[in-house]
């Protein structure tokens, strides 16, 4: 089973690489697609988890007053690195649609963390809380188009939210599986 998925991954990588080569001649630099699972705290009184699209990695909380992170997440609360939340220029547009069909990022219209209570991403808008399972189901068709902390563009969708196994009434960690396409050249082109 493992071998099979490795093989699949390998062939996907080959296709991906060849696709890259073909596009080299065009003036548009293709964006890169990644997916990652981010572990965040459930309790609303614990630290946020910071994330950088550029590095496709979690950023240490000691770097919270820097441009190193783009968004932060805790429970279902999002911060973007701007104004009230950080020194960056990060903003976001949450748009309904199919992720793959979003090929360019808008030039304007981004929402920022203006104040600590007027945040760019409103809680409760991008997931359904399920009373029956006591879980969060990210809404399908929610495309988060980011302007990053250092003025690059990215689009993201949340694929899954699962809990770490827990005892007692409340979970401790939520794992968010996300997929994003990052454009490193500063252009609004989000085509792969």
């Amino acid at each position: 089973m493992k071998k099979k998925s490795l093989l699949l991954f390998g062939s996907a990588a080959v296709i991906f690489l060849t696709a890259c080569k073909k596009d080299e001649s065009s003036p548009l630099i293709p964006a890169t697609e990644s997916s990652i699972s981010i572990k965040v705290n459930f309790s609303p009184i614990t630290p946020y988890t910071l994330f950088s699209f550029k590095n496709n990695a979690i950023v240490a909380n000691t770097d919270s007053i820097s441009n190193k992170w783009d968004f932060a997440l805790r429970l279902t609360n999002f911060l973007v690195n701007s104004n009230a939340s950080g020194p960056g220029t990060a903003g976001v547009i949450v748009q309904d649609g199919i992720f793959d069909n979003v090929t360019t990022a808008p030039a304007t219209g981004y929402a920022y963390d203006t104040t600590s209570n007027k945040l760019a991403i409103k809680d409760g808008t991008w997931y359904d809380y399920n009373n029956t399972t006591r879980t969060f189901v990210p809404k399908a068709g929610k495309v988060f188009i980011f302007r990053t902390a250092d003025n690059k563009y990215s689009k993201m969708e949340i694929l899954e939210a699962t809990y770490d196994p827990f005892t007692g009434m409340f979970p401790e960690k939520i794992n968010y599986k996300i997929r994003f396409v990052y454009q490193s050249d500063g252009s609004v082109n989000l085509q792969k």
């Binding site: 609360n77 209570n117 009373n131 029956t132 969708e157």
Partner: protein, 717 residues
Amino acid sequence: MCKRRLTVILLFILSTLLTKAQVADTSLLKELDNVVITATRNEGKLGNIAIPTQLITTQMIKATGSLRLQDILQEQTGLTIVNSPLGISLAGFPNIFGAGIQMQGLDPAYTLILMDGEPLVGRNAGILKLGRVAVGNIKQIEIVKGPSSSLYGADAMAGVINIITEKPVKENAAVQLQYASNNTLSLAMNYSNRINKTGIQLFANRYSTSGYDLDKIMYGKTVDPFTDNSYALKITQYISSSAQFIVSARYFGERQTNNYLVTDQGVQQIINGTTREKDWGLNLQFIQQLKKSFKFTSRLYFNQYTNNSDEHLQKNNAPFDALRFLQQVIKPEIQIEKTGNNSKFISGIGFMAEAIDASRYDRKHNFRTLYVFSQEEWTIAKGYNLIAGARVDKRNDFDWRVSPKLALSGKISDKFFLSASVGLGYRTPDARQSYALFTNSSVGYSLLGAEVLKTALDKLKQEGQIEPSVNTSLYENNAALKAETSVGMNLGLRFTPHPNLLVNANIFRNDMKNLIDRYTLPFNKNNGQSIYSYHNVNRVYTQGFSADATWNLNKHFIVSGGYQFLIAKDKDVINGIKQNRYYKRDPVTFKTDTVRLKDYGGLLYRSRNSANIKVMYKHAATGLSGWFRVNYTGRFGYIEKNGSGILDDKNEYESGFLLCNLTLSKHFTKNLDLQTGIDNLFNYKQPFLMPNLAGRIFFVNLNMNFDKILNVKQRKA
């Protein structure tokens, strides 16, 4: 090939049975002569009613041997027991809201439940606990489908269930003793007598059970042990040959011992507690037959329901939680009935004063409703009837509401009876939706009723629980909740091809708007938790058909079957799907796509198909009888999994299930019957979605019945 052979065999069986049918001892057509009252508010024969009505007689109740109203109703075509989705938890927590009746695809909150024609109050999140009604003194249960607000006002959007208790006719004493699984013990006693102009009916029932536990891993039981005490007293007094006074009083009390586990500030704690429910009612009626054609009835009804719980930490007995709930209603009413040659006219005026108070509401509330209703029933031609009626309600905090109804029926031939009805129904927002003022102590979210939203938000701001910069004004001038409304249509056909075969079919459609739904405010409290309130949003429809057939095979067997097909959908969701506004995510590839209309399964907790088959066997010579009932509930949606927010994926359904119940009775002497049976024969359990199903239950009933005990001689009047 195999199919054809099966058809031939079936045809053969059918033909033999049909020839045997000639010898059945009683005609089913007699059933149609039973007198019902709920659909028109005056007495009429079941067979002549233009409004879909189902009747459960005391004989049927006794034949099941069941003491639970829920089980009896569940066996009726088109009635489904549903658990409150608010309380369902796949984590296994007991459902505190309980289960109620879904009728024509509408939630339990939309079916009015009456006791001797008067509404029972005290609902928890829209659900009236059916366990409050003892079964032992019920004469009949009438189920009227379709909006009935034209006679009963608010809440009768889906229909009405009227539980009618026995009236004293002659001297009779009965004792019923039941022992069943889960240490369930019930002792019921009935005494009735009629001496000259005075009748008396006494009923007492003590019912106790240890409850049951469907999930052994989870601490605590699914249903905690409880003891019920029910008493009823009815006195009928003829003042003259044309005037009668009826007093009925009833009391129900339940004491439940609670024991469960919570996580309080990160520490697991065992909680002990007691929940006490009390329901008592008083119903006074004065009936005067002023002329042969003119009847005057005055009524005064009172009902009070309380539900109080006190919970303590087991380790040090420190108070953990205390909940109070009180609802009262007092309702004077007068009604006139005028019978002409080809018409029946009824009209009435009444006033209803209600008080409701609960620890989770802002304060005690009083509502006053004044109402007037009128209805005329004409015989427009021989066998053809027309009913036109309307009711006007004015509640102090709501606009006038007019609820009309029109029904037409016709006996097309000896074998066909057609009926059609259309009516408006409505439901005023309940106190929780308007006045909830509740903050969850362990999580910290707040639930605020629509009417108290402004003051509650202002207060949260003042207390620093919401940032001053948050603009709450958009939610402070929200229009008050409007009543939910429905238009319902029913088209019925009765077919009696043979005195021993009775077929009923009904097509229905209900269009509802302004359904009240909970929503999340777009800003949070400073603790990061959400604020919820209620608003009118949904427009939904339910439609389908139901069919019932009863067949008196021969003097030993009666076979019956029923089926309901149901579709219940949200119109706004349908529009949204058409406009490609709904997206779904593939659980394996995580690819997003738009939802297709054909995948939309409609509202949760609705089974498209439900059916029942019942076989009754009687052997008069030996006094043996048996009744085997199979109830099928088809698959139903219960969850959202693929990110679409709606039911549109096969993984979002729970599969259908069968409940089989068997009762065997032996009639020993005219004073003694013994019954034994098994409910849920195949031990179907679904701990999370259907905690109301206890699993397999064995029971034994001992029924004793005596006439003429005191043997008081009656004077000739």
